[in-house]
């Protein structure tokens, strides 16, 4: 579907039995606000992936489900205001659980930045990465308790 993926890329992505392959936050225009990769890609491959995800996700509206099949894997996404939060997972994974994970993540961001907006994510991008790293690790969900994550984040902030 869409533009052809280089065959090597597809193969790698199939056989790596990892749960999450990447997490992306993009705005409607296609600008990346966060890109966390849990597998190896070259920079140009990453760019291509980002563009593909953007193309696929922005054409969908409220009538569509939150899951898109993407070659041999799938993308769970949700739109919050002008931002698309996308997680790319295996075809066999539990869609609803990852949808919950996205929502969990967004709620933490909201708490941490006090009613987060896109600019917060732009100006504090390295802090967003910290949040991601507190909640996800090695392609898996790590910490799900919002209170715990927030406590850690505040501690980390005090060390700076």
């Amino acid at each position: 579907m869409g533009t052809g993926w280089p065959p090597v890329l597809v193969q790698e992505m199939c056989f790596l039995p990892q749960k999450i392959r990447f997490i992306l936050i993009q705005n409607r225009a296609g600008k990346t606000r966060l890109a966390k990769w849990y597998m190896q890609f070259d920079d140009d491959e990453k760019q291509k992936l980002i563009e593909e995800v953007h193309a696929v996700v922005t054409v969908r509206d409220a009538k569509h489900t939150n899951f898109v099949e993407f070659r041999n894997f799938k993308i769970i996404y949700r739109r919050y205001a002008g931002l698309y939060f996308c997680i790319c997972v295996d075809v066999t994974d539990n869609n609803l659980a990852y949808l919950e994970a996205i929502h969990n993540f967004v709620e933490v961001l909201n708490e941490y930045f006090h009613n987060v907006c896109e600019l917060d994510l732009v100006f504090n991008f390295y802090k967003v990465y910290t949040v991601v790293d507190e909640m996800f690790l090695a392609g898996e969900i790590r910490e799900t308790s919002q209170t715990k994550v927030l406590k850690q984040l505040l501690m980390l902030q005090s060390l700076e």
Partner: protein
């Protein structure tokens, strides 16, 4: 002297003011140049800020690899802020393929032992994201040690870092097993979560480990029980459900452990039932748990009551307002439709309703599922839903829907007329999306419904009057009009409103087809042949046909030209043969391999002249030399034994009408019945360790099946074993394919082969055998005669 460095926030603000891509690029290049010179100066003061700026620019899509070494320096620094940016840079800019990544191994090792848990956390996180196999090997013991730490923050991170290690270096699985067993006893949810993930990962990679972990199923069940009784941990509450993420992970692990294992499955039956019935379904979190439960129930050896429960959950999902949930319900039902067909059937109504959903992917799943659910009872009502769906569905689904409908109609059509009506309906609505072999299939179907010729041709004629753009429809219609034009012209037919069709009108239609630019070359060929056939079926306008045919004699399309020229010849020189040649076609059979050849002939506008036989297009030429040898032995110089071949005759003989031995066909037909006639078996041959035993089964009348078993009592295998046989003149013989060609040594196994005998004259049965095989490198051949057949075998 480097200018004082721009603050990160300031840089971001400035870059955002850029109005064009080019302006932004300019700003970034300038900043990069500044940063580069700062790096060269090795100034540690602003290193951290510079790298942060670099990372921001990297996120915008600009190259930043010159910052890699700086990240290393930052990681080595004692300050937390430095380390933090350095590790982030490492995760973003480096990956395990870079050699530079090895250089941070030492830093990570030191930081893993740091007194601050946050720095330990940073190190673990980085290792877990981009650790190469070498790094993993170096640091595995450190991580394992941290799994036993007292700090749960560290344990959580260590567990997932261990997941990454195990992925990269599966041999290290053993290292982590003891720690995980202890960790399962923890109360802390985060640690439990990480441990369950780790165990899942280990079990997925190593079947041995999987077996070891089956013992923890009871423990996992306990944890689940605790979770459901809630109050376990209010911190992990999501919409009133305690830690759905942990529940989902445990269910997933239970699935892996219970798969293919009866005991483990039994141990989890109760808890699965409990979760399935007690979970709150009003929120997404609850549904996520239910979904995972359903997946688990379907994948383990669960009792049938539980499976029905699972299907019912999915059925409820189908009624949910949330389209996400409907979608996953259908995905799962599709997987289950083969194994639990009846249970899924109960939800057929809801599934069919989902055909009208607005989301294309939901529609697609609904279509697949609906097609899978069609059976003989519901075929009429299902078609009533599927055919309107075909009218309205998005184009990418049309072709699948059309083929699905055809398949279902073929398997379950309640009557021929219904079948033809359905196919006609599909052709009129989605004609351009059907596959090529539909046209010949439909033609065969029509010829086999002789009572419906009149009805069919009328309907097709009307359809073509409306619309000539759908090629498959037009092709079938022209074929029918050609064949059954006389019925069309008589105008009378039940079930169809009477319509007076004149010869001129019919010819007009066919000529329009010939001339229209919407018609493909194949369609034109059909139309021309149909015109030709009509010349014997109509009375008044034969001249008109003659004219058209002669015009096309100079057509540019070679195929049409050839036909026209030949038809012209039929008019001129062979006019006396014309009516015989253009007679109605005989009934065709469907489903035999030759049928496909015939249909290939048909689709080119079958010409009945020319002396081609309809059947027997693919005959297997008997391998003459072998047969002749055997026949010589028995003294029968007669070619009426074409079947004494060791070749597997895998084609159904019912289609091969050319072969004399319809006997072969009958024999094959009758082979379905297993009828033990009680005839004693004999040892037909026993020499040099090879023994052949014949056992007998009498079929109807003069037919006999002999099953031979070849056994080898020597110390070495007999390979390339071939068995050939010949029988007396009036007896017919046919050999089926052997089960193999190696007879194992020491009677450890056998080769079996079936021999079919027809002995209509009931002569005394005798058989000449020729055997050849290789043993211990040398080949052996032998000839023998069998005359000790029991009387019941042939009398």
């Amino acid at each position: 002297m480097a200018p004082s460095s721009v603050k990160l926030q300031e840089l971001i603000r400035v870059i955002r003011t850029a109005k064009t891509q080019a302006e932004e690029r300019g700003m970034i290049q300038k900043e990069c140049a500044d940063i580069r010179s700062a790096f060269r100066d090795e100034d540690p003061a602003f290193r951290c800020r510079n790298v942060a700026k670099l990372l921001y620019m990297h996120m915008l899509g600009y190259p930043a690899h010159f910052g890699q070494m700086e990240c290393l320096k930052l990681i080595a620094s004692p300050r937390f802020t430095d380390k933090r940016v350095g590790y982030l840079g490492a995760m973003l800019l480096l990956d395990e393929r870079h050699d530079a990544s090895l250089l941070i191994t030492n830093s990570i090792k030191n930081d893993l032992n740091h007194s601050s848990q946050y720095i330990q956390g940073l190190a673990l996180c980085t290792l877990g994201c981009m650790g190469s196999p070498e790094m993993c090997r170096d640091l595995a013991t450190e991580v394992e040690r941290l799994l036993k730490a007292s700090n749960s923050y560290i344990k959580k991170k260590a567990a997932l870092a261990a997941v990454h290690i195990v992925r990269k270096v599966p041999e290290l699985i053993e290292l982590f097993i003891p720690a995980t067993k202890r960790l399962l006893g923890e109360k802390n949810h985060g640690v439990l979560h990480g441990t369950v993930i780790l165990i899942t990962e280990m079990c997925e990679r190593s079947p041995d480990t999987l077996r070891k972990y089956r013992k923890v199923v009871p423990e996992l069940v306990q944890i689940m029980k605790g979770l459901i009784m809630s109050g376990y941990s209010p911190e992990h509450n999501v919409a009133g459900i305690s830690d759905p993420f942990l529940q989902v992970r445990i269910l997933c692990l239970l699935r892996i452990l219970g798969h293919h294992d009866g005991d483990a499955s039994e141990a989890m039956n109760d808890i699965l039932a409990q979760v399935a019935t007690n979970t709150d379904t009003s929120k997404n979190a609850g549904n996520a748990i239910l979904y995972e439960t359903v997946l688990t129930i379907m994948d383990i050896r669960s009792e049938s009551g539980l499976r029905v429960l699972a299907v019912n959950i999915l059925g409820r999902f189908l009624l949910n307002n949330d389209k996400n949930i409907r979608y996953i319900a259908m995905m799962s039902l599709l997987k289950m439709v083969q194994t639990d067909h009846n249970a899924v059937q109960r939800h057929r109504g809801t599934i069919v309703d989902c055909l009208k959903d607005t989301d294309a992917s939901v529609k697609r799943k609904a279509l697949d599922l609906s097609l899978a659910l069609v059976n003989a009872h519901n075929v009429r009502s299902m078609m009533k839903e599927l055919l309107p769906f075909l009218d309205n569905c998005p184009p990418e689904l049309r072709s699948d829907c059309a083929s699905g409908v055809f398949l279902a109609a073929e398997k379950f059509a309640p009557s021929k007329r219904w079948h033809i009506d359905t196919i006609l309906r599909v052709l009129t609505t989605a004609g351009s999306f059907v596959r090529d072999e539909t046209v010949p299939n439909l033609i065969v179907l029509i010829t086999n419904a002789s009572e419906l010729y009149c009805y069919t041709v009328h309907k097709l004629y009307r359809a073509v009057l409306n619309d000539i753009s759908q090629q498959p429809l037009v092709q079938v219609a022209s074929w029918c009009i050609g064949e059954y034009g006389d019925l069309l012209l008589t105008g009378v037919c039940e079930d169809v409103e009477p319509m007076q069709v004149t010869e001129d009108e019919v010819l007009d239609v066919l000529e329009t087809l010939l001339q229209s630019h919407m018609s493909s070359p194949a369609t034109r060929a059909y139309a021309l042949t149909a015109l030709m056939k009509l010349s014997t079926r109509i009375r008044d306008n034969v001249d008109r046909i003659r004219k058209v045919v002669s015009i096309y004699g100079s057509c540019i399309d070679v195929e049409l030209q050839q036909r026209a020229v030949e038809y012209n010849a039929l008019f001129k020189k062979y006019d006396h043969m014309r009516s015989a040649v253009l007679e109605r076609m005989p009934l065709m059979e469907k489903g035999s391999p030759n049928h496909n050849d015939q249909s290939a002939l048909i689709s080119n506008g079958e010409r009945e002249g020319g002396g081609e036989t309809q059947g027997g297009v693919k005959l297997q030429p008997p391998v003459a030399s072998q047969t002749m040898d055997l026949l010589d032995l028995i003294g029968v110089p007669d070619a009426s034994l074409p079947e004494a071949l060791p070749q597997p005759l895998s084609q159904p003989l019912t289609g091969q009408t050319g072969i004399e031995s319809s006997v072969g066909g009958e024999l094959l037909d009758l082979l379905g019945g297993i009828d033990f006639g009680g005839i004693p078996s004999i040892t037909a041959y026993n020499k040099n360790g090879l023994s052949l035993e014949f056992s007998f089964q009498r079929e109807q009348g003069s037919l006999l099946t002999i099953t031979l078993q070849a056994r080898n009592s020597t110390a070495s295998d007999m390979t390339e074993f071939i068995f050939q046989a010949a029988v007396p003149k009036t007896v017919q013989l046919q050999l089926q394919a052997p089960s193999g060609d190696v007879v194992p040594a020491m009677n450890r196994g056998s080769v079996s082969q079936s021999i079919l005998i027809n002995n209509p004259n009931r002569v005394a049965l005798k058989m000449r055998l020729r055997l050849s095989y290789s043993v211990q490198g040398s080949s052996v051949q032998d000839v023998a005669e069998v005359s000790n057949f029991p009387a019941q075998a042939w009398q």
